[in-house]
Symmetry: C2
Subunit: 96 residues, 2 copies
DNA sequence: CACGCATAAGCGCATACACGCATAAGTGCA
DNA sequence: TGCACTTATGCGTGTATGCGCTTATGCGTG
């Protein structure tokens, strides 16, 4: 099972999406595609991948679909996510 | 950088190889290909992938090439590895 | 040098993945 | 119903990945 998780994490766009969601809030696809400057179909598919991996959940809200981190994520997976996001931000600081 | 790491981790054979190396010792390719029941070329290539990702280092010892975890692994990457191996073993316990 | 064992690497193939483009489907509003 | 907006999906294409098969390379021994 961690392999599906790891595959889902092995992509810059998905990692950035998760970083956005790591604020604990909900974000619609349109917001994330703007923030990350990617096309709509690309953003939608990446979110689908994250959803299938159990990393995020979605909720329909009128015309929008709001994504957030899966609150029922298994603890071991959650620890992986934490470590990955921490490493990702460490790298960012190096780049800056 | 974590993306290269995550790609390298997204494979069952490589994950099992790392689990073997997680004992802190050195293991040659021939030992691991026997333990994991995979062909030589497959094992060799997987170890190459792990090496390029900076997760392991190798050392020539006579006819053998001994692999071990990279002792100079950056801390954030090491934390990812720990979390992944922990999740992997949790899963195993579930299966058993 | 010849041979055997351990490892790496070239090659071709099959499969998986990401992407853009176009289109469909769901929702709200006039 | 018609339209605008948001999101999902079918399709074709290019690229990456994993694999087995085969061959090359490194090393120790006789």
């Amino acid at each position: 099972m961690p392999i599906a998780t790891l595959s889902a994490l092995s992509d810059p766009t998905r990692l950035e999406a998760l970083r956005i969601l790591a604020d604990g809030g909900e974000h619609c696809v349109c917001e994330m595609m703007t923030l990350l400057d990617v096309t709509q179909s690309r953003m939608s598919r990446h979110m689908q991948t994250l959803k299938q991996a159990g990393l995020v959940v979605d909720r329909r809200d009128a015309q929008w679909v709001r994504y957030r981190l899966n609150p029922d994520m298994p603890a071991p997976i959650s620890l992986i996510l934490d470590a990955v996001l921490a490493a990702y931000e460490t790298e960012e600081r190096k780049a800056a």
